[in-house]
Amino acid sequence: MISVMASELFKLRKKIRAWLGPLLIMILVLIAFPLSIDISQYDLNKFYFSIIVISLLVISFLATETMFVEDFEDGTLEQIYLQERDFYKLALAKVLIYVLLIGVPMSLIGSLFSFANGVDASQLPQIFITLIFSTLLLFNLFAFGAALSINKGAMLGVLATLPLALPVIILLGRAIRAVQFGNGFYEIMALMIGAGLLVAALVPLVISITLRTHLE
């Protein structure tokens, strides 16, 4: 498993556009939002989170779109299939590396921008953890979407799984409200961590069945 993760890390690190692009888009969105409204009239720290949540959704969507395309086109997946090796490890490793290389910086950027927009510094760790588990959930769901329509342009599959991401967004919204108002955060966090771990364990299995179906 470690060797699969190391190879996935190496591959993603080499594809600078795949991991740096989404992060730059996120920074751009977060900078553009306060510039596009009259900040003298609005209390930014009250609703700045919503733009973080939406950008998290869109960037996760964009980042995972090409997750399996290269491996499909260069025959890596076919080789794994012919060798009768399991796709589970590959899917798990891919999602974890994406979370590590894109999800963690995204969460960090989101937390820092919320601080820059008036959120109390003591709330930053809570916001960071919330965003990390949201990216874990979203990356898993969109990775499934990317696997679903791998040879048809992954956007279709990602769009088909978009409705599944909306409950995550609702949960994320509640977690952030709980941080803002200071009650019920740990209950929602427990739910989020539970869902995150369950999804992280099960979705790679679904992805591996999906990839196998494409190659049969």
Binding site: F144, L148, S149, K152, L156, G157, L159, A160, T161, L162, P163, L164, L166, P167, I170, V206, I209, T210, T213, H214, E216
Partner: protein
């Protein structure tokens, strides 16, 4: 005996032949019950003390909402059969049920919006139940689009089945959304475990409408699946000789 019945019925040929005989009865019973339920509910059921006559849309909205979820549940059962046992008919049924599901979910959302104007003062609210039903509608469209995008139909069947199974996670969220989140939408008046909180004079026509709509939707599903099966199996001998 049950296993042999399932094996026999799950062959597309047997399904088409059997449903040809059943369809006229199911469709006419469904239409009759639905019309009875609507006439009873719209003309003879008493006026609601709080909502006046506007509540009468429940005779369309409630059955539509119930079947919006029930059809997805049916599709999930078929998806498991298609993925695990590779039952060809199950995949055909998912594809046909998805169109009927999308239609009835749209009706549920539309009728809910109409009901929202006199009761909530707005036709749309980003409320838990409405939003999750909208998600369900998009799921149906996603299933239809995904299937339509593959030229290899066997592969499309299998991928569509996987998506349907994963999407099942939305059904309990929709069902419990009114209990889990603070919402404008009222909690369910009819539950499996408790006594209904609706007066019998309104409840009976509602039950008749639900039953009627169920049968009408089954008829639509059968009709759509028969067309789909005949299209998919058009090169088979039994279709070419089928009248």
């Amino acid at each position: 005996m049950l296993t042999s019945f399932i094996h026999k019925f799950s062959a597309p040929k047997s399904y088409v032949e059997m449903t040809a005989k059943l369809l006229p009865y199911i469709a006419s019973c469904g239409l009759l019950l639905l019309l009875t339920g609507w006439v009873w509910g719209l003309a003879f059921a008493p006026e609601d003390a709080v909502q006046g006559n506007s509540y009468r849309i429940i005779f369309l909205h409630v059955p539509a909402s119930i079947f919006a979820q029930a059809i997805y549940l049916f599709m999930s059962i078929c998806a498991v059969m298609s993925v695990v046992w590779r039952v060809k008919l199950a995949a055909y049924l998912i594809k046909s049920a998805a169109s009927v599901g999308a239609l009835i979910t749209f009706i549920a959302l539309f009728s809910g919006s109409i009901w929202g104007i006199p009761t909530w003062g707005t036709w749309w609210q980003w409320d838990a139940r409405i939003t999750s039903t909208l998600i369900l509608f998009i799921m149906y469209l996603g299933v239809i689009t995904l299937h339509g995008s593959f030229s290899n139909l066997e592969k499309a069947d299998r991928l569509m089945s996987i998506l349907v199974i994963v999407g099942l996670v939305n059904i309990p969220i929709i069902k419990k959304s009114v209990d889990w989140w603070s919402t404008l939408h009222q909690p369910a008046s009819i539950t499996v475990s408790g006594a209904p909180t609706i007066d019998p004079s309104m409840l009976y026509p509602l039950f008749v409408s639900i039953l009627g709509m169920g049968l009408v939707l089954i008829s639509l599903g059968i009709l759509s699946s028969r067309l789909h099966i005949l299209g998919r199996e058009k090169n088979k001998k039994w279709v070419q000789s089928y009248e």
